[in-house]
């Protein structure tokens, strides 16, 4: 179970927005330099239409982040299908998404329908029921720590064990929070 209470952690969250902006500035593959303006302002939570329940879940994630980590200025981004999420994640146009375990594993391996996008290095932020909240592997540790802190212990993720196996490896920032270690330094 969480080593640090959610409320303790959330007090540290207000700095996420600026940090997220810096991280998203690395989104060098976006075709419009201007488009980065939006994606550095907001933490996009990806989902896709082919998984109807994922849209509601993403909206719940955003609601929790709005309540507990408002500086993230989180927004839902609904792709038409999982392949579009792979494209956006692979090209650093998006950092975080909700996926099923099988989708996450296939995307990580670049297999099946995700082959055109190549392997996408993903890390687990939190399991959310029968889906996973994943991030790009280069999502900063501190941001992962803060997002996990905002969601762990809520109705979306009431009981989390870092020992539990998942389709993709844990993000070290999320693991740090769940194991009670302090917020990582600024990235």
């Amino acid at each position: 179970m969480c080593g640090r209470t959610r409320r303790q952690a959330l007090g540290l969250g207000l700095r996420l927005g600026v940090g997220a902006g810096a991280a998203l500035l690395l989104s060098g593959h976006t075709p419009y330099g201007q488009w980065v303006v939006y994606r550095k302002k907001h933490l996009l939570i990806g989902c896709h239409k082919a998984d109807p329940g994922a849209y509601d879940l993403a909206k719940q994630v955003v609601a929790q982040l709005d309540a507990h980590l408002p500086a993230a200025k989180s927004r839902v981004a609904r792709a038409p299908h999982a392949g579009r999420l792979a494209s956006l994640l692979a090209t650093a146009q998006m950092d975080v998404a909700t996926l099923s375990g099988s989708e996450a594993a296939a995307m990580q391996a670049g297999s099946g329908g995700f082959a055109p996008y190549g392997p996408v290095a993903l890390r687990l932020l939190l399991p959310l029921g029968d889906r996973l909240l994943i991030a790009r592997a280069d999502f900063p540790e501190r941001h992962a720590w803060l997002v996990t802190a905002a969601l762990a212990g809520t109705d979306l993720a009431p009981e989390i064990q870092t020992a539990q196996e998942a389709a993709v490896p844990w993000h070290p920032g999320s693991r740090a929070f769940l194991e009670g270690r302090p917020e990582p330094g600024s990235d």
């Binding site: 593959h29 976006t30 075709p31 419009y32 330099g33 201007q34 488009w35 980065v36 303006v37 939006y38 994606r39 302002k41 996009l44 990806g46 896709h48 239409k49 849209y55 927004r75 839902v76 981004a77 609904r78 792709a79 038409p80 299908h81 579009r84 999420l85 494209s87 956006l88 090209t91 146009q93 998006m94």
Partner: protein, 415 residues
């Protein structure tokens, strides 16, 4: 009564029987059709989204042929009538703009001009207008994604999100052009590189998502030289000029053998300025004919248009106009001026001979008017301005205050 029905049926049948000789049986046109294949450009051998002379023609056509392009929307999107702003946030802009073609025009060669006459545009039933964060003329003011879904017919567009608005059908090709030659590619890349280094908005080649992948993709033979489709250039492309209506003729200089004529990005309707960054965007079936003007490339170095009454036919019967001057607040640096990194611009409240700032002033005043007079939200007013407001130059002599006006087509408000 039954006997009468049978008699009538026989009579009708007999009439139909003679229909074998009606006008539908007489043909003279040669039709060259480039159809869509698959859901998206990546699935379609007739589709590409970068410009390079090595992109192979998908079909050949003769001057005078009816060339029929089945085109995709500008974002190569999956948007539908029930889409919302959450869907817009997941658009992958690497896929902009899907073009249909290119078509090799028999007999055309470098140094010629091709005259492309727009014969018809049959729009899809769905179109959209969006505010894309970070894009558009007022991108510093409208920073959140916004989506309006339109229901289209051959007469007008309506939207549940824009109640009381009917936008007339005034379709044109947002993008139409020819492939560049190798000298043009090298020249244009260099000038855009220099602009980018100076802080301007210039997009370098992006192999990810680029089509055709054999030429422009990550392993493509020309991956470092495939031009993006966002800026219009001397080869045409994304010009977004609404006067190019059905019946007008677009002149394009030819840079390679066969020219490589492409079409896409149809706009169902658009104001001069396309201020939100998009018109009413839709896929369509576009028919053109082409003639060759031998050697006229010596005089026509970029796209030019010949037209007639079309320019009058798209005028409103009732309008409201705001007058824009190059004025701003002290300390303000509008986005188009930011790359100049000028403290002088920041400090001034009145810029000299500045059409961009005058256009911004006129547009902001128009959006205020639409909200005040017609009760639309700021986002709705910005969207409406993108599809039904024309930015026009008033004068470029009365220093320091050049004038740009914004003209609202008041016909869009349903009686």
């Amino acid at each position: 009564m039954r006997a009468l029905f049978v008699l009538g049926a026989v009579a009708v049948s007999g009439f139909i029987g003679t229909a074998a000789a009606d006008t539908s049986e007489s043909k003279w046109q040669t039709r060259v059709v480039i159809e869509k294949q698959g859901a998206h450009c990546v699935d379609d051998p007739n589709c590409f989204n970068r410009y390079h002379p090595d992109i192979p023609a998908v079909i050949r056509a003769n001057p005078g042929d009816m060339i029929i392009y089945h085109t995709r929307d500008a974002l190569d999107s999956d948007l539908t009538l029930d889409s919302n702003a959450d869907d817009l946030a997941a658009v992958d802009l690497n896929f902009v703009h899907p073009m249909t073609g290119p078509v090799h025009i028999e007999g055309a060669e470098r140094g010629d001009v091709i005259a492309v006459t727009l014969v018809d545009i049959e729009p899809d039933e769905y179109g959209y207008t969006v505010i894309v964060p970070g894009f558009g003329f007022l991108r510093d003011i409208y920073t959140e994604p916004y989506l309006v879904n339109w229901k289209l017919s051959r007469t007008h567009a309506v939207s549940d999100q824009m109640p009381g608005i009917r936008v007339p059908y005034e379709a044109f090709m947002g993008s139409v052009g020819v492939l560049p030659g190798q000298p043009e590619v090298e020249s244009w890349l260099e000038r855009e590189r220099l602009l980018g280094e100076a802080g301007g908005v210039a997009l370098p080649p992006q192999p990810i998502g680029a089509l055709p992948s054999a030429v422009c993709g990550p392993e493509g033979s020309g991956k470092d030289q495939c031009l993006r489709t966002i800026p219009p250039r001397e080869n045409g492309g994304n010009m977004d000029v609404q006067q190019m209506q059905i019946g007008t003729t677009l002149l394009l200089p030819c840079f390679i053998e066969g020219c490589g004529l492409f079409v896409g990005d149809v706009h169902y309707a658009q104001g001069d300025g396309e201020v939100s960054g998009t018109a009413i965007e839709t896929g369509a079936v576009v028919t053109v004919t082409v003639d060759i003007r031998k050697g006229e490339g010596a005089f026509i170095k970029g796209p030019e248009v010949e037209g007639g009454a079309q320019i009058k036919n798209i005028e409103p019967s009732k309008f409201y106009q705001t007058i824009g001057l190059p004025l701003k607040a002290a300390g303000e640096v509008p986005p188009p001026h930011s790359y100049l990194d000028s403290q002088k611009i920041a400090d001034l409240t009145n810029l000299s001979e500045d059409l961009t700032l005058a256009a911004r002033d006129a547009l902001i005043k128009m959006i205020d008017y639409i909200q005040r007079k017609h009760g639309l939200t700021a986002e709705q007013a910005y969207i409406l301005s993108s599809v039904a407001v024309d930015l026009r130059i008033g004068q470029v002599v009365d220093v320091p205050n050049y004038v740009v006006t914004a003209v609202l087509n008041e016909d869009v408000f349903a009686e």
